[in-house]
Structures are given as C-alpha cells and as structure tokens.
Amino acid sequence: MLTAAEWGIVALSLKVGGVAMAAVLPIAFALAWVLARVRFPGKLLLDAVVHLPLVVPPVVTGWVLLLAFAPAGPLGGWLERWFGVSVLFRWTGAAIAAGIMALPLMVRAMRLSIEAVDRRLESAARTLGAGPTRVFWTLTLPLSLPGVLAGAVLGFARSIGEFGATITFVSNVPGETQTLPLAIYSALQQPGAEATVWRLSAMSVGLSLIALLVSELLTRRVRRGLHVL
C-alpha cells in the first residue's frame, strides 16, 4: 500500500482538484449558459478563447499564469494589495492552474446539456406566468443538472492530472504544489524509485477512472432524456 507521504500526495491532489472544480463550476456554468443561449457579436471568439487551455501547450498556460500572478503582474499585484497573499509556490496556485486547464472541458459538457433542454418547456412555463428567474431555477437548471455535474466531474479528473502548467507556474513544492503527476515526475527522475512510480501511477489511474465513470453515467442520464435526477 501507499506510504504516509504518498497518501499526503493523494490528499493534496484531491484538495487541489476539488477546490479547482468548486471554484470553476459557477464560472464554467455561466460561460456555458451564455454560449448556449445568448447571441452576440464576438461569440465565436469567446468560444475559441474558452477552449484555448485545451489546445495551447500547458507549459505556455503555466508561463502566462506565472506572469499574471507574479507580484508585479496584473492579477498577482491585485491579490497582494487587497489580500496580502501570493499564490506562487502555494497550493492555491496549483488549484488555479488546474482550474484553468479544466475550464474548457467543463464548459463543453455543460453547454451540451443546456442546449439539450427543451425550450418549449421553458416557453410553456413562461406562458403560465413564471418569470425568467423562476424558469431558470425550477426548469433550466434542474433539467441540465446531470450534464453540469458530468462536466464538473470531468473537470475534476482533468484537474488531478494537471502537470505542465502547474510545474511551470508554482514549482514542485512537497505538501503545497506537488500533486500526483508532479510526484510521479520526481520519482521518475530517481533511478530505483520504480515502486513509488507504480504506486502513484496506480492511484492516478484509479482516481481518473472513477471520475470518468461517474461523469459518463451522468452523461447517459442526459442522453436518455431522463430529466429527473
């Protein structure tokens, strides 16, 4: 089984992935809703920008994040002035990297499920006197919920696998930013550490598999049109 230090790495990965998922969830949902429902000039561009982290080399994403969150950078300076915190070398920075990398996957899954909601139901609700807010909370959100959760879980799976952006942005600090992929990378640099590599890789594959299965089961609900959870 895993050593105490290895369990620590797994726990840190779950924390980073979980916080990344929770923080990005509302942003991803808002973006998905806008992309699914609103028509506006520049929509294609927004769509492309949201998808950038999926296709840009992760090392570029990490480098851009490093510049942005540096104390002299635009976001880092703001965090330092208002909250007196820095995310460099911190697990919060790892969560930011993981969240950015997970965003496109989450938006894609959520957008599909929002688009799958039958708009005639919404029109019917409106004719029966429900306001737009009530329609959203009692119809659109519940109906798209399985897809939203599927997207969130998929984003979580992507988060705990994040490597390139993380090591470039917040380094490889044990207990702070050394998540499973970074620990595996470190162990691979060490001749004779194959047993560690195997154990951590097995954990990584296991966690990803569970997340993907959960995500897939939720997606099936969307496809079957089973509109109740």
Binding site: W63, L66, L67, F69, A70, P71, A72, G73, G76, S86, L88, F89, I167, T168, F169, V170, S171, N172, V173, P174, G175, E176, T177, Q178, S186, L188, Q189, Q190, P191, G192
Partner: protein, 250 residues
C-alpha cells in the same frame, strides 16, 4: 499537581515552536534530488526544521524567482541561471558559493564490458558511433557539456548522427538502463545513482566547461533558517553528504 501538569502541557506546546523555526523553501535543480534530500535529512536530524525542497529544472525555478516567488535558497545546476538572477539583484551576492562539482562520464549497461578509449579520436569515435548514443537534450546543461566534450575530442562530426536525446540527463540514463542505447553520456552522479549501469569511461576535465553547482540566498528571503541551511550546505559536513552521491566538493 494540577499546576505542574499545566506547566508540562505549556512546555509541550511551546517546545516545538522554540526548537524549530519555519522550514525554509529551497529551490533545487532536479539532478540534486537524492543528495539534497539526504542533506535535508541530515540537517533535520541535527534538530533543525527540515527544509521544503522543490525540485525542477534550474530554468523553471529561476523564472519562478524572477516572477517574484518567495523562496529562501536557489541551487542551480549551472552558473548561467544563477548569473541571470544575480543580474536582476534577486540573490544576495555575498551568499553565492560554488560548492559542488561533477564529472561527465560514459555509461554502459552493467553486463557490457566495453571500455572507452579517450584517445586517439578515431578509436573513440568508433566505439561511440557503434550504436545509438544517449545524451540529454541540446539546451540542457548535460547535453551542452557532452557536445562540448565530443567536439574538443574531435569526434562530434562522426558521433552526432548516432545521438539520441532524452529531455533530461536522467531520461538519457533511462535509455541506457532499459537497453534502448548501449552507451550514454551522463554525470558521474547519475551513474552512481543507478544500479543498472557502470562507468565505462570518464571525460578529461579539460574537455568541457567545468560542471559546477552554485547556491545562493534569495534577496527576498526573510527566514533565518534558509541562511542556516545554506551555511550547512557549504560546510565540510554538508558537502560530505553530496560526496557520498558522487559529487566533487569545491
């Protein structure tokens, strides 16, 4: 009775805080992984807080310091990145010490009895060009040193087409360990770390630029434990830890 118990509890709570400060954050080149961890363990055994060490490529670490990351020490695998930080006044100049050196060697799989003749050039070229020769990628220090050595020995033109590159010196080592290449150019410390390879030849020290490792305290470091650990690293006892892993004390 209750009073002494309370006193004991107070002492218990205060003891770790008294004995140990906040652990310093050390940024160290990936090739120092085993040796630097051993040094940190030795330091912790002596009653100090064990430093937290981030191992990555010297280049990535230097860029994180440039961006404004708060760490205490930087240990680089070459002088170039330390110079880059020095130029931007991000290190304390007086704290910079080149404390370790390394050798460049040719490794072969354990069962392979090959010996590498350094001279004449024709004999060296013949042995090295016999099969794929594993080396670190060209921009990685180990790759640069290896190429410089082969050039100065006059065999680069013959050997170059046979070179296979790993993204790090440890990746080059793995190619030899796994039998993907019969020979590889790595550091003496890498050869020592692996049980699957043996040193088949050592490059003459003059055939490539000196391989040296500087340490320095970062200008923004405020943790006295960082400076204390730096002093340990450059001390005789500190260097002795690294010598066990094949480094040369400087």
């Amino acid at each position: 009775m209750i009073r002494s118990l309370l006193m004991f509890l107070t002492l218990l709570a205060a003891a770790p805080a008294l004995a140990q400060g906040k652990p310093p954050l050390v940024l160290a080149a990936a090739s120092l992984q085993e040796s630097m961890n051993a040094a940190a363990d030795a330091w912790a055994t002596a009653g100090h807080p064990r430093p937290v060490i981030s191992f990555a490529a010297s280049s990535a670490l230097a860029r994180q310091v440039e961006a404004g990351g708060d760490a205490d020490l930087f240990v680089s695998a070459d002088q170039e990145w330390m110079d880059a930080l020095a130029a931007k006044r991000l290190i304390v100049p007086a704290s910079r010490v080149t404390f370790l050196g390394n050798r460049l060697v040719v490794v072969a799989a354990k069962g392979n009895p090959v010996r590498i003749p350094v001279r004449p050039a024709a004999a060296l070229a013949k042995v090295l060009a016999a099969g794929p020769l594993a080396m670190a990628d060209a921009p990685v220090p180990a790759g640069k040193y290896g190429e410089a050595a082969l050039r100065s020995l006059g065999v680069w033109a013959t050997v170059a087409p046979k070179v296979v590159r790993g993204d790090s010196v440890r990746a080059a080592l793995t190619l030899v360990e796994r039998g993907a290449a019969p020979l590889g150019i790595v550091y003496a410390t890498d050869a020592k770390a692996s049980r699957a390879v043996r040193i088949a030849g050592v490059f003459p020290a003059g055939s490539h630029p000196p391989i040296t490792y500087p340490v320095a305290r970062l200008a923004r470091s405020t943790n006295p434990e960082g400076e204390a650990f730096r002093r340990f690293l450059v001390s005789r006892a500190g260097k002795a830890v690294f010598v066990r892993y094949g480094f040369i004390a400087r």
